[in-house]
Symmetry: C2
Subunit: 338 residues, 2 copies
């Protein structure tokens, strides 16, 4: 592997000059620069990023810390879409992405900042970690620039991008209300997700503004899991036959709910209306097609990467809130009279 030294020797100059020639400094004559570049090309030289990073004290690397890279997460390819967005932006820069994964216990033995400092990443993007994750407290304490996805924590070193969860949920519930539903349940995620709290709030706001009483026992947690949601929904609808509509905090859970309804011989949307959240790929393919609140996951990743690079270039951490959109499909209908 040829180094800067080899080039220097071949060109009869010092390593300093080679370095400065290759990096476009002005204090090297065009003649020698040309010679050096030619020789570099001829010797098939590529710079050693490790050495450079070491001395420059920045690695031109960002860490991507996601939780959703599991076998089971392929259905809801939220993680993948976010990653794609990140990748898309980063590809336009001179940074590279290094993948940390949080699912393995192996990595879990290291703390967040250990993970980052060992690899000397310049910044991190975090997605999918729970609010009680020890990593989270570390993020704010550490001085590594960081942008969070769907976690509203901010400091001068950490920004975040999220969607208008409260408003999105509100729109979904209002849609149900407009269809005449009054007995509306909610399948929420879990207490360790900010989005759950926010979507619950949206649910509350919509109901209260419409002067519809809220039945607390009609709000259950499905842990963002299809199976769990199915089980919970089965219980709920057997015990509470008056429910005519349910708002789910994720499409995956909505699928679970629909499975439960099928088992109970309740038709969607004739007997009960279902609305989801996310607009995952499957939403438009299941039958009936799912009414849902769409969020642009690709853009979330893209914006996160953009913000992080901005921060690395000296700008300050921001908050980006993307708009959601209610997509009405076939799983919601007017409430039955009587």
């Amino acid at each position: 592997m040829t180094t800067i030294k080899d080039i220097a020797k071949a060109a009869g100059v010092s390593v300093t000059t080679v370095s400065r020639a290759l990096n476009g400094y002005s204090d090297v004559s065009e003649k020698t620069r040309k010679k050096i570049i030619d020789i570099a090309k001829q010797l098939n030289y590529s710079p050693n990023t490790l050495a450079r990073s070491l001395v420059m004290n920045k690695s031109k690397t960002i860490g991507l810390l996601v939780s959703g890279m599991t076998r089971s997460a392929v259905k809801d390819n939220f993680t993948f879409e976010v990653m794609t967005g990140v990748n898309d932006y980063i590809a336009k820069t001179d940074y590279d992405v290094i993948l940390f994964n949080t699912n393995s216990t192996k990595q879990r033995e290291k703390t967040y900042s250990q993970l980052c400092r060992e690899r000397r990443v310049d910044g991190v993007i975090l997605q999918g970690i729970k609010t009680d994750d020890p990593y989270l407290t570390e993020v704010v304490e550490s001085d590594i620039p960081c942008v969070l996805i769907d976690i509203p924590i901010q400091s001068d070193r950490v920004g975040y991008v999220t969607t208008d969860n409260v408003y999105g949920a509100k729109k979904a519930v209002q849609h149900l209300l407009e269809l005449g539903h009054r007995n509306i349940a909610m399948m929420n995620g879990h207490d360790y997700a900010f989005v759950s709290k926010q979507r619950l709030q949206g649910f509350y706001e919509a109901m209260e503004e419409a002067n519809v009483p809220i039945r607390k026992e009609w709000v259950v947690n499905g842990d963002f899991s299809e199976e769990m949601a199915e089980a919970r929904a089965y219980e709920l609808f057997t015990n509470e036959p008056n429910i005519t509509a349910i708002f789910c905090a994720s499409d995956l859970m909505a699928l679970g709910v629909m499975k439960a309804l099928k088992q109970l011989h309740l038709r969607v949307p004739d007997d009960v209306s279902v609305v989801g959240y996310d607009d995952i790929l499957l939403a438009s393919y299941v039958s009936p097609a799912l009414t849902t609140v769409a969020q642009n996951k690709f853009q979330m990743g893209y914006e996160a990467a953009s913000m992080l690079i901005d921060m690395l270039e000296g700008n300050e951490a921001k908050v980006v809130t993307l708009r959601t959109q209610l997509v009405v499909r076939e799983s919601t209908a007017e409430v039955k009279k009587g």
Copy 2:
């Protein structure tokens, strides 16, 4: 950021001793080792991987070079599943994954080996590149350990993992033959994919063994794209009304074909049977559910990572061929008597 030097000073020993203590060498007394470890913990030390990599001449990093990280690739989450498999294996090792992306023209300005050498990756996994990609020739020429996915190229430095494409395709076509079909078309990918060639061969073998004549004009290329496949299928089925079944080299193309058939008011599977390849998530959700050849993409990634790490530890490159499985769903039926 505390370094090994700081620890040495605090402990009153040399950096050598600190290094050797921390790395578990035997030539340091338990007493001093304990002291050093305590101080390291207390100073919140984490080793600088860059410096280590530089001197050790290995980065404990593998490159992941995928082509499918695009917005349009979310439907067919082949790439994501492979990545998940890779990630799953790597998580158990002390390696990290660095993400290269081939779609950006920015990166494309660098050659394959430049990409790898700059970041000093110890090895690479390549997925989704075409057979005419200039990267490919570089792979074999370069001396970087590499494992390819679905590309049958082998040397002492490069291995690959793939599935039994010929046999898989053969099973799919045989299934159609057993249902009584004789007028069978094929929607292939493109000429720059090995899997296309192999699946075509499987198609041929099945037909020939059953003594069914092959109509070359019934084999068309859909470029692995849903839209392209839809257009091609539309042409094909308007011009050739005798076709009763079609084998597609990917599920995504099968979806496109089904769209075309719907437009032409041909029912699946009553009028024409469709079988796909891959078993993507959507396959079981579309209506009618798609009969297809399932391949375990997660395992492909997992095996690839496993092989690569093996190679980095001195073992030689291998070839791993995974089995596929025909999954019969609703899109295939017996040919109409007519």
